[in-house]
């Protein structure tokens, strides 16, 4: 019941927000958007969290269309999880928009922005609430269009227009593929309702192997376009930077998730995968996506483009986790599948939170320092300390540093991949090994990338005048970033509270014993405590596994996977205890140092620069320089085009300038986009010959078509 009310309130607030935006004067719009958006986001959070916790799917029939069936909206735990994430990101982004939208007030229509904003919000929620194919596709299209219009918001910039168009075109192609997959399912099951499809196709043997592959591939790559998987992700690095920062946060933090939602919905709920092939495909594509994403992110100097590539990387990691889960499920190891799915969903949550945080910080920096180019920023930690702190928390999380959220989910993903040792087929194990190695490389590159981003953007010298003149953002922009940063920390420090909730979403889909597999009930206060073997509990009791039971309820604070008698603990970690120890250690060491040197005088002097009279910003390391080793090592993949030129004056030896530029070439883009587009253009040219302007020929076309249809009708009638 609560969910229904909350959803109703949500839609009402969206409508109210959009309508009042049209009425209000331009300058009040940001505040209005913030308030309405925050309230709507809160309502969605309530709905989502309730659905998540109560495990009570509810369904609401809207109206029935004659041929196509009933349009239904409903919530199940999976939708609830995604709704919760959407609500949180939207809530905080709306508050951020209050301060951020000021910069567009002069040039662009904030009314249009608000309408589109709420439209996007409502359509995203509708996608997640849809319980039948028609409403799903309808809401999906609405979401595509509104997000395209929002990406295009700064329509005076050439970059935005091209990016938006590419996003729309590729998105529609993906939607088409996904729609075909869904319609195939509807055809096989005889109904468009999700619940009905799941019930009809749930038994093995109903759908042939070929059809299963078709559905999987179409849905994987169709929704994969939206999720940013290779080879169809060329739109992502262009669209995310082109959009305003708050929209980029939503694109990365919410809309990419919809692609994953689509894949999960089709392949775990509607037509659960029953053989290992699809899982392996997902593994491989996920791993390669992750690697390619982070590689381009490391060598990219524009902050938002870098974050966009990093989103690709994180989506790759999520899909790798999903793929591992699918393989385990098909191999009959539901516990391991549960672990893998939990890892993937955990990473999804974490990614939404820290990517939103990073995009908001990048937008703040762009707004205050005037540029997104890391080669022209620097020294912002002095003028924008809070933004720097929040960006740092986001960077530590995305680089999977202990004890932040990224660590927990990425660690869990890698552990899930390692569990492939328990499988029989060596071919499968090989694929897992490949994926694991690629993910490890990706993690290392991610650290490089974000060290570069933080160091070049915030530390050192300001490399341009605008960066030097930057000032701190207002509280309305800092507070949401702070909240997201706090969330990053919390999600990392209490994995044992998060995992049971995630495991709950999977119960409806399959065997959701991930909670038992991952979070043993060490706390004596937990109801499942009695089910654990006594000596196991006693051993960990001595190690202090009861600590904290009075603060936080639940099963325990240790993430632990048990094996057989030979190997009682396969893997274990506790970011909760670790964080406490870390904080205590830091405090003790800091205190000891302060105490030990309390009598010493500290001299603050200028940095040592070799005695030059003035250290200019152009004498300090740039982001390009920092990431150059990566560029050189992976030269074969990046294959940059180098242009070197030199100019002379007067005579041969008075050289005045050496120019060199390097453009990375995206080989996948060239192959896929380039190949496809050239073929399409060829076909279009062929067809264009039909348009020669002769009226008589056009009449002949009409006549010919009529004859053909009459013949077909006659044939079919028989």
């Amino acid at each position: 019941m609560i969910e229904a009310i909350a959803i109703l309130v949500f839609f009402a607030l969206c409508a109210l927000g959009a309508l009042s935006a049209l009425v209000m004067p331009q300058r009040r719009n940001p505040a209005l958007l913030a308030i309405a958006g925050a309230l709507a986001g809160a309502a969605l959070c309530v709905a989502g969290s309730h659905a998540l916790i109560s495990h009570h799917p509810f369904s609401l029939a809207l109206w029935t269309l004659p041929v196509n069936g009933t349009l239904r909206l409903g919530l199940d735990p999976l939708s609830g999880l995604f709704l919760l994430i959407t609500g949180v990101v939207y809530l905080l982004t709306s508050i951020f928009s209050a301060g951020y939208l000021e910069r567009y007030r002069e040039h662009y229509s904030l009314r249009a922005f608000a309408v589109l904003y709420f439209g996007l919000f409502a359509s995203i929620a509708a996608v997640l609430l849809a319980r039948d194919i028609l409403s799903f596709l309808f809401a999906w299209e609405l979401m595509s269009i509104t997000s395209y219009l929002l990406v295009n918001f700064e329509f005076e910039r050439e970059e935005s227009i091209r990016a938006g168009y590419l996003m729309l075109a590729m998105g529609e192609a993906g939607t088409l593929a996904a729609a075909v997959a869904l319609l195939l399912l509807a055809n096989a099951a005889g109904s468009t309702d999700f619940h009905a499809i799941g019930a009809a196709l749930g038994h093995a043997g109903v759908v042939s192997s070929g059809a299963r592959w078709t559905v999987f591939l179409l849905s994987f790559f169709g929704f994969g376009v939206k999720a940013g998987l290779i080879p169809f992700n060329s739109w992502l690095p262009r669209a995310h930077p082109a959009a305003p920062a708050n929209i980029s946060a939503i694109l990365s933090g919410v809309i990419l998730n919809l692609g994953i939602y689509g894949i999960v919905r089709v392949n775990l709920d509607l037509l659960p995968v029953s053989f290992t092939g699809p899982g392996l495909v997902a593994l491989i594509f996920g791993a390669v996506t992750a690697f390619v994403g982070i590689l381009y992110a490391t060598t990219e100097n524009d902050a938002k483009t870098m974050l966009a590539h990093s989103s690709i990387e994180n989506m790759g990691i999520i899909v790798t986790g999903l793929g591992a889960g699918l393989v385990f499920l098909a191999a009959g190891r539901p516990a391991l599948a549960g672990i893998a799915f939990v890892a993937a969903l955990y990473h999804l949550i974490n990614h939404s939170v820290y990517k939103a945080l990073l995009f908001l910080s990048a937008g703040t920096v762009d707004a205050r320092a005037g540029t997104r180019d890391l080669d022209r920023l620097g020294g912002l930690i002095r003028t924008m300390p809070w933004t720097a702190l929040f960006f740092l928390v986001g960077a530590l999380s995305i680089a999977a540093m202990y004890p932040f959220s990224g660590f927990a989910s990425e660690w869990l993903t890698l552990q899930a991949l390692l569990r492939s040792a328990e499988l029989d087929s060596s071919a499968v194990r090989l694929v897992f090994a490949f994926a694991g190695v690629t993910l490890a490389l990706t993690a290392a590159l991610a650290v490089t990338c974000f060290v570069k981003a933080f160091a070049m953007g915030f530390l050192g010298h300001a490399r341009s005048n605008r960066a030097e003149a930057a000032t701190e953002a207002p509280v309305s922009m800092l507070a949401p970033m702070g909240a997201l940063a706090a969330l990053c920390f919390i999600l990392g420090v209490i994995p044992t509270v998060v995992i049971p909730q995630l495991s709950g979403t999977l119960e409806a889909l399959g065997d959701g014993r991930a909670t038992e597999a991952l979070v043993p009930a060490f706390f004596a206060t937990s109801p499942d405590h009695a089910q654990l073997p006594k000596d196991f509990v006693a051993e960990f009791h001595d190690l202090g596994a009861q600590a904290g039971s009075s603060f936080i309820g639940g099963r325990g604070l240790v993430v632990l996977h048990r094996g057989g008698a030979q190997n009682p603990v396969v893997f274990a970690m506790s970011t909760s205890y670790g964080a406490v120890v870390l904080i205590i250690l830091l405090a003790v060491v800091l205190g000891a140092v302060r105490f030990g040197t309390r009598k010493r005088r500290t001299l603050r002097e200028v940095r040592w620069d070799g005695g030059v009279r003035q250290l200019f910003p152009e004498m300090t390391y740039t982001a390009t320089g920092f990431s150059n080793p990566v560029r050189v090592v992976f030269d074969a993949i990046l294959r940059p085009r180098t242009v070197e030129d030199s100019e002379e004056t007067v005579a041969q030896h008075f050289r005045v300038a050496i120019r060199r530029s390097r453009e990375p070439v995206h080989p996948i883009d060239e192959l896929v986009l380039g190949g496809l587009s050239s073929q399409l253009i060829r076909i279009a040219r062929l067809l264009a010959r039909m348009h020669h302007g002769k009226l008589n020929a056009y009449v002949a076309y009409v006549l010919g078509t009529l004859i053909v249809f009459l013949a077909l009708a006659a044939a079919m009638w028989k």
């Binding site: 005695g611 030896h653 050496i658």
Partner: protein, 531 residues
């Protein structure tokens, strides 16, 4: 073709004067509008080498002296051009003769002359972020002892940047860098991997030697000459002494001249062993660096025991040598030096068989012969690039014509070629020392005019050029004194000034770790360059 024969044919109508003066060479005076053509003709058609530029301030005009010397035959050519004091503008010849680039910039900074057509004047000797424009300290009006000079440095000064690439930056090296290195600044421009270009900035050590010499006694010029570059003190002192002797018409006695050769070659041997030590140290070949260090210290002690000073200070004198050295000690010195050379050759033998060492020197720091010619390089660096310019052979002095020695040459122009040249010249130096000892006559070491002083003082006014082939290359000293024997103008053209000009050619497109090696294989002196 002699100069007197060829010049009248083509230039007779455009020259003001042409005469030959003893102790100077041919003096050709032309008008500023003919300067470029004449210099180009001398350099291109006659194939003479451009050696330097001397600027003097006469009563109502500037007198500029462009020095050329023949590479095969003895003979100097001074192309003199005058400009009115108020005007001070002259055409630049640096697009035709690139070696004139730095001398023109130096003259602009120190004298305030304008060389039209030169693309980069200013911020050379006097740094723009310390001094304002227009100081011109070498002008006679400027008081060398003035301490409180108002400074108005350019607050918008930015370093010269050549590389334009996204994300390019310049790594600053110096002026205080490394463990113990001479102060100079290098801006290594890079996009993060290879260094594309290294831009040096010198004259942090500018001591205005040429300025403070004015008004001092001629014999004190010898002190200044020795201390321009303490490592080649005797060679510079000898060049200055020869200039003074040319003014005063003095000829050192045979024993003095022979001992001069002995000491000059002893200094060359010690200097080159030091340079070899620096190269081994830069490549971090510790045992070789230690062995070379041992040899260098032994040569320093040898010099100190023989002459009383490890770096041969206080021996140069106008008219000969400041003091005599006993034959027995000279012989013992040669014996010990030969033993040192044997160990040096054993070191060389092992070095050229160490591939990790050669890997760091080969193809590193390339200077092609064409570049060496365009920049008029001198010394072992030029010889390693195939350009043999040795003043001991081309313009013999001090009786070198009577000695038998080879001038080693290599063609590759990389660090390894420069190292081979150093070893070969060390061998030649010992051979010269042995020959000098063999033909050492009895007699006084200096002219009777010196009386009881260690050095003679020329008593008449005049100006002359003195030159030596210092261990680093051609060192030129131009001295003008008045009738009281006081210095009016003291101009020094050291070999490092000529060679540092071409350093950036060698330091192009290299890995950052090679930078100390390129510096070491050049082995140039910053104090000599900065004066």
């Amino acid at each position: 073709m002699t100069l007197t024969a060829s010049i009248p044919e083509q230039w007779s109508t455009r020259l003001e004067t042409l005469e030959f003066r003893h102790g100077v060479g041919y003096e050709v005076e032309c008008r500023p509008d003919a300067l470029r053509e004449l210099c180009n003709w001398i350099a291109d058609t006659l194939g003479y080498a451009f050696a330097g530029l001397i600027v003097e301030q006469a009563a109502h005009e500037w007198e500029l002296r462009y020095l050329f010397h023949a590479t095969e035959l003895p003979g100097w050519v001074h192309v003199i051009v005058r400009a009115g004091r108020a005007y001070g503008r002259l055409p630049s010849i640096s697009d035709l003769i690139h070696a004139a680039d730095w001398p023109e910039r130096e003259a602009e900074d120190l004298f305030g002359l304008i060389f039209e057509g030169h693309p980069r004047l200013g911020d050379f000797v006097l740094h723009d972020d310390v001094w304002q424009e227009g100081v011109a300290p070498m002008r006679k009006e400027f008081d060398a002892l003035a301490r409180a000079i108002a400074r108005a440095p350019n607050t918008n000064w930015r370093p010269d940047r050549i590389v334009h690439a996204p994300g390019a930056f310049g790594m600053p090296v110096g002026p205080v860098y490394s463990g113990a290195a001479e102060s100079a600044h290098f801006l290594l421009e890079t996009v993060g991997e290879d260094v594309i270009r290294a831009l040096p900035r010198f004259f942090y050590k500018y001591r205005a030697v040429e300025k403070i010499a004015e008004g001092r006694r001629a014999e004190d010029a010898l002190l200044l000459a020795e201390r321009i570059n303490g490592l080649t003190a005797f060679a510079h002192g000898l060049a200055c002494a020869q200039a003074l002797e040319a003014i005063g018409g003095l000829e050192p006695p045979p024993r003095g001249a022979t001992l001069r050769v002995f000491l000059a070659e002893l200094e060359r041997l010690r200097h080159h062993v030091g340079a070899i030590q620096e190269i081994c140290e830069s490549t971090a070949l510790a045992v070789a660096a230690a062995e070379a260090g041992v040899l260098e210290e032994e040569l320093l002690r040898l010099s100190g025991a023989l002459t009383g000073h490890r770096y041969l200070f206080g021996l140069s004198a106008c008219g000969g040598l400041a003091r005599d050295l006993p034959d027995a000690e000279l012989a013992a010195t040669v014996v010990r030096a030969r033993a040192i050379l044997e160990r040096l050759e054993s070191l060389e033998h092992r070095l050229v068989r160490t591939s990790s060492f050669l890997d760091r020197l080969e193809e590193v720091g390339l200077v092609t012969e064409e570049e060496a010619r365009a920049f008029s390089l001198v010394g072992p660096i030029a010889r390693a690039s195939g350009l043999v310019r040795d003043l001991r052979k081309a313009q013999p002095y001090c009786g070198y014509a009577a000695f038998r020695f080879d001038v080693p040459m290599e063609a590759e122009g990389d660090g390894y070629a420069r190292l081979r040249v150093l070893f070969a010249e060390a061998r030649q130096s010992l051979s010269l020392m042995t020959q000098a000892l063999d033909r050492l006559p009895e007699g006084p070491v200096r002219v009777p005019e010196a009386q009881e002083r260690s050095t003679a003082m020329p008593q008449k006014a005049g100006a002359a050029l003195g030159w030596t082939e210092a261990p680093l290359g051609a060192a030129l000293h131009w001295v003008r004194i008045d009738e009281r024997g006081m210095i009016v103008r003291y101009r020094i053209i050291p070999p490092s000034f000529v060679n540092w000009h071409a350093f950036y050619l060698a330091a192009e497109a290299f890995a950052f770790q090679d930078f100390p090696i390129i510096l070491a294989t050049f082995g140039l002196s910053v104090s000599e360059n900065d004066r």
